[in-house]
């Protein structure tokens, strides 16, 4: 049975809270404040007991697929294991009970952690400095593009365009627009990589930056990366790395050596901080020396002599703040703990295992599904459901059927350059046994597509609800409960 809404569990007179008796002189709000400032009706919040509330959210929780239950091969999302230690240390009262406006003296532990995390990330990417302020990957992209704009503006012309490949994440062009630039999208070559000719034709002195994910969204390392960097730098544009796929490079390759000037890190991907059903994340940004003056202030610095940490606001050319305070500190603690747990060798093992796992899946699955770019991959690869589509089974159906086998589906219909795309990223967290079980499920679905397509097309069958009508959701928009009943906009 479906779980009721919390509002539908409400009964007047029940309470889920416990507050102390008022100890200051009791005054009716209406005696303290002029009546015109007071709300006329109470907020129609539910009235439930504490136990009702706990049961409700617990029952909701078990409707979710999640990493602690099983495999979650969402491509480009790096759904790796979230270490439990990190949850515990992030909850230490010395971290959670710390107000952002306390003095630096009172926050030395937090500043020290942020300083070192910045250092670690810098070293991993070969960058000169890191800001931890952006709250998510897309936030990091925007921050970087605004810095790039400030950089070019300082040399006289902010420029007007940003180039991205057609395999780019949707956040890239969206961030470009938000930074006031125009997106120029270039076609990938038949290897799924940057077409140097196409790039050269589209690069001129009006290009502010080129944004590239490497390994790209096909899971392929951009083989001509050094030439790409040269082309970009010849016109004075900045080379930006979308770090969503950094997991593949940990310890083995340095974005700086590839020619990148700026990179964003997804702490909630590469550095194991939990995704929380859609955040909070962390979109730290690493930059080369030349870009440092434009960083959002403050940065965390160290007074070497006194072994003391402080916030440095002295950035006259800063783009300004991008977050109320210093970023998602709670996420930083987890990323810090992850890096210290694995250490430098462990991080390299992460990349190694992620790459082997992806290639193993790719080699094991390409017999059953089309593999448009049959090259050795890095941490992920993209299959196409074209073969199954010709049997009337779409990639969406395959994804839904996987849910029946207790696996989460891969990322589907992305990247846009692969028809019926299934983008699979196993991460290093999975054992060979799990990968083999996934291969078996994918094989079975390929077989079902031939012998019993209906069972795939009508999937999922074993989830809490069956296939949901997305068109109806958008057409008869119902995005909230109301006391009067359904409100459709």
């Amino acid at each position: 049975m479906a779980e009721k809404l919390i509002f539908e569990l409400s009964s007047p007179g029940r309470k889920g809270y416990s507050l102390p008796q008022p100890d200051c002189p009791r005054k009716d709000a209406a005696r303290i404040l002029p009546k015109e400032f007071l709300r006329e009706n109470r907020a129609e919040l539910p009235e439930v007991s504490e136990n009702d509330c706990v049961r409700h959210f617990t029952r909701l929780s078990v409707l979710n697929h999640h990493i602690d239950r099983g495999f979650y091969p969402l491509g480009s999302c790096t759904m790796k294991y979230n270490p439990k230690l990190n949850e515990q240390v992030a909850r230490l009262p010395g971290f959670t009970e710390l107000h952002p406006l306390q003095s630096e003296e009172q926050a030395q532990g937090a500043l020290e952690l942020m300083y070192h995390l910045g250092e670690y990330l810098s070293k991993i990417a070969g960058m000169d400095k890191v800001t931890l302020q952006p709250a998510a990957g897309a936030h990091g992209e925007l921050t970087a593009l605004l810095m790039i704009r400030a950089f070019h503006r300082k040399s006289g012309n902010p420029r007007s365009k940003v180039v991205i490949p057609d395999s780019a994440h949707g956040t890239n062009p969206a961030s470009v627009s938000l930074a006031g630039y125009r997106t120029v999208q270039i076609k990938s070559n038949n290897q799924g990589m940057i077409d140097l000719g196409e790039l050269e034709r589209n690069v001129d002195e009006e290009v502010a930056a080129f944004m590239l994910t490497n390994p790209n969204t096909l899971g392929l390392f951009e083989i001509d990366i050094l030439k790409v960097a040269e082309i970009i730098h010849t016109v004075g544009a900045k080379f930006y790395m979308d770090g969503a796929n950094l997991n593949a490079l940990l310890g083995y390759a340095s974005p700086a050596e590839m020619g990148f000037d700026i990179i964003h890190f997804n702490l909630h991907k590469t550095f194991s901080t939990p995704h929380g059903g859609g955040g909070p994340g962390g979109g730290a940004l690493g930059v080369k020396e030349e870009m440092v003056p434009f960083l959002p202030a403050p940065t965390v610095e160290k007074r070497e002599k006194r072994d003391e940490f402080y916030l440095d606001y002295d950035y006259p050319d800063s783009i300004g703040k991008v977050h109320s305070f210093y970023g998602n500190f709670g996420v930083m603690i987890r990323a810090f703990a992850y890096i210290r747990s694995l250490g430098t060798e462990g991080l390299r093992e992460v990349a190694k295992s992620a790459i082997i796992n992806a290639n193993y899946l790719k080699e094991s699955l390409k017999e059953f599904y089309d593999l448009p770019y049959d090259l050795p991959c890095m941490h992920e690869f993209v299959l196409s459901g074209n073969r199954q589509k010709s049997l009337g089974v779409r990639t969406l159906d395959i994804a839904k059927r996987l849910l029946d086998y207790a696996f989460h589906a891969p990322t589907i219909y992305f990247p846009l350059i692969v028809p019926e795309a299934l983008m699979i990223e196993p991460t290093e967290s999975e054992s060979k046994e799990t990968l083999d079980a996934f291969i078996e499920a994918m094989k079975k679905i390929a077989e079902e597509a031939k012998t019993n397509p209906e069972v795939v097309k009508s999937a999922p069958h074993h989830t809490p609800v069956g296939r949901l009508d997305e068109a109806k959701a958008a057409k008869e928009l119902n995005v909230r409960w109301t006391k009067q009943g359904t409100q459709v906009y």
Partner: protein, 448 residues
């Protein structure tokens, strides 16, 4: 060697490499990327630590911070030390919630999707607004996105913002606008409140949005109804930055006929955590729903007619609309939104009012007691909710430092935000402060 986070054994890897058709990982890597870019040396990072060692390292760092639990804090300035019921963290610790991704496969994500739908509904009920999204990064970025929404809705590029809106919000807005040629003008404040004459001077048919915070940065209540008719007559959208706890008693953005209401959601069950993760709240009129930034959960049915929830109106979003998306936001603050949903469910209709009343009464008591002291005056005379500004003979810096030594954090030195207001101390009193603590604060101040 080996890590507890990495299940692959050497023997597993050998088998897998064999299936891939290579002799070694090195060979695989050289086939995948230019050999010249493969680093021989490991990055200069510390070696691995055991669980015990990491735990004690982090515990050590946490102890170098002054934990608010060990002092009495009257610090506010946009984020507050409100009470957090134990239920919230226990539920957030359910890995079904925290180890799930953005709910792209709705049928396997009903827990997240229904809780977002409930979050949206709770925020609507609290604010009196018609729709709410699934969250933004924080209050400041929500305010910036509200302004951009107004620009796209009105086709105009000037925004009027009260200069008593949180200064960090103003900064973040300026940063967000820097690429888009959106022009931000400030409305002056008088006696801590938005100056109506200055507003009237600056409002025109070129304005996309008027942004007013109430309670404003100084804690004072703005009479939004004063501005509303003129803002709408000029064709602009009215944006209010609100305090979610205050709406337990205060007139709602909905009642003020506000178009977009935004807030820092931290007071709704989130720890202070040195600045984040927090929660940006955004609620609007239903006419703006197709321009909302970010995720939105909507109710629908499955093939058997059972109720279920999906991410909806996704054509607004970056993964579909790319450069024409309403925002670039992807990952938001979902788990923080869940915390807020649990908080509002627990507090309910009565609890949210009680918390708000406690804040109001206690802050009023504190202000009255402090103002009885010689040399301590209320800086602004109009009504406030839970935060107020005291002006003294002494520098606020001196007070903060002196009381800090006695285990009291008396508030925010306003010189930090408004250079020159160095004798102004902004004091926040939440439901967590007891009369005894307030009396101690007053006593300590009296001895300065």
């Amino acid at each position: 060697m080996g890590s507890n986070y990495l299940p692959s054994t050497e023997s597993d890897q050998r088998k897998m490499l064999k299936r891939i058709g290579v002799e070694s990982f090195r060979e695989l890597l050289e086939r995948s990327m230019p050999a010249s870019l493969i680093k021989e040396n490991l990055p200069d990072l510390p070696p691995a630590l055991s669980e015990m060692e990491v735990s004690s390292l982090l515990t050590g760092l946490s102890r170098k911070n002054l934990n608010l639990g060990e002092v009495t804090s009257f610090l506010g300035g946009g984020v507050y030390d409100h009470f957090i019921p134990a239920v919230i963290d226990q539920l957030l610790l359910r890995s079904e919630f925290y180890t799930a991704y953005t709910p792209y496969q709705a049928e396997a994500s009903q827990g997240t999707l229904q809780s977002i739908y409930e979050f949206q509904s709770l925020i609507c009920e609290l604010t009196g607004m018609e729709v709410a999204n699934a969250s933004m990064y924080d209050g400041a970025t929500a305010a910036a996105e509200a302004a951009l929404l107004a620009c796209s809705q009105t086709g105009k590029k000037q925004v009027l913002v009260g200069s008593n809106v949180h200064p960090d919000y103003l900064q973040v807005m300026r940063t967000y606008f820097s690429g888009l040629e959106v022009e931000l003008s400030e409305i002056a404040f008088q006696e801590g409140l938005v100056d109506f004459a200055d507003f009237e001077d600056k409002i025109s048919d070129k304005i996309a949005a008027v942004i007013i915070q109430s309670p404003n940065f100084f804690g004072l209540l703005e009479d939004i109804s004063l501005f509303e008719p003129e803002v709408h007559r000029s064709g602009a959208l009215l944006v209010q930055v609100f305090d979610p706890i205050s709406l337990g008693i205060l007139k709602t953005p909905g009642e003020y006929n506000v178009d977009i209401a935004v807030a820092e959601g931290q007071p709704l069950g989130l720890p202070l955590s040195y600045g984040g993760p927090y929660l940006g709240l955004m609620a609007t009129k239903s006419s703006l729903v197709r321009r909302l930034p970010g995720r939105l959960s909507g109710a629908t049915v499955d093939h058997r007619g059972r109720r279920g929830f999906v991410l909806t109106l996704q054509t607004r979003e970056q993964h579909i609309r790319r450069e024409k998306a309403t925002s670039n936001i992807c990952t938001n603050q979902a788990l923080c939104a869940l915390a807020a949903a649990i908080y509002l469910s627990l507090m309910g209709k009565e609890g949210i009012r009680e918390v708000a009343e406690l804040c109001l009464e206690k802050s009023r008591y504190a202000q009255e007691q402090i103002c009885k002291l010689d040399g301590f005056m209320l800086k602004f005379s109009s009504p406030f909710f839970k935060e107020f500004v005291i002006e003294t003979r002494l520098k606020a810096e001196v007070i903060v430092e002196s009381l800090g030594k006695q285990g009291i954090l008396p508030g925010v030195d306003l010189d930090r935000y408004f250079p020159g207001m160095d004798r102004c101390l902004m004091i926040a009193v939440t439901e967590k402060r007891t009369k005894e603590e307030i009396d101690t604060l007053v006593e300590v101040l009296s001895k300065l």
